[in-house]
């Protein structure tokens, strides 16, 4: 089935982005860069995952309900990301710079 294939591909992509976000959280050097990793990779991962599951949903309204989770998480993570970056800046945390030795 084409739909099943597309759904599984989306699920796979979701898993990939989630992993990339976690690797970013572990490897990136400071608060700001880690926020980047979370805000972009994780949210895209969740979007792919929800879209993949929505393709397999029993009814249209259930698919919409699944997809409706995404904007909620997006808005929340955008506001929290800005709040934490703003507070970090206010505390005088300077962004990590590459030491060009």
């Amino acid at each position: 089935m084409l739909l099943d294939l597309a759904s599984n591909l989306l699920l796979l992509a979701g898993g990939f982005f989630f992993c990339a976000g976690t690797v970013g959280l572990l490897r990136f050097p400071d608060v700001y860069t880690r926020l980047h990793a979370l805000a972009k990779a994780d949210n895209l991962g969740l979007g792919c995952l929800l879209a993949g599951l929505a393709l397999k949903a029993d009814s249209l309204v259930q698919a919409i309900k699944l997809l409706a989770i995404w904007p909620l998480v997006l808005v929340a993570s955008a506001v929290v990301g800005y709040a934490i970056a703003h507070r970090a800046d206010q505390l005088g945390i300077t962004p990590w710079q590459r030491d060009d030795r």
């Binding site: 898993g15 992993c19 976000g21 976690t22 572990l26 993570s77 934490i84 505390l91 990590w96």
Partner: protein
């Protein structure tokens, strides 16, 4: 195709475990909080997958609740809790750990 969802849920759970390492290491309070935020978004993903795997649509409501509420502790952290005293150090560099006791 329940198998693929279960494997993906397992993968996300491994991600949570890795994020738990970041929450334990810090070095700053903000880094721990970021790990908690990752728990929020990844947790929503796992809950939705479990809803499909276990055929329990009610878990989608749980995911929705989590999505609506996960932001509040992050905002409370940024606006009320994160102060210089908690932070300790001005430069947030990964090489130095603030906690000598980081597990």
């Amino acid at each position: 195709m329940i198998g693929s969802e279960l494997l993906l849920a397992l993968l996300l759970l491994v991600n949570l475990g890795a994020a738990l390492v970041r929450a334990a290491q810090g070095p700053t309070a903000a880094d721990r909080m970021l790990a908690a935020l990752l728990f929020g978004s990844t947790g929503v993903g796992i809950l939705v997958l479990l809803a499909v795997i276990q055929q329990t649509p009610a878990l989608i409501d749980v995911a929705l609740t989590l999505a609506l509420l996960a932001a509040i502790s992050g905002i409370a952290f940024a606006q009320r809790a994160w102060s210089q005293a908690v932070l300790g150090r001005r430069r947030g560099t990964a090489s130095k750990t603030e906690d000598g006791d980081a597990a």
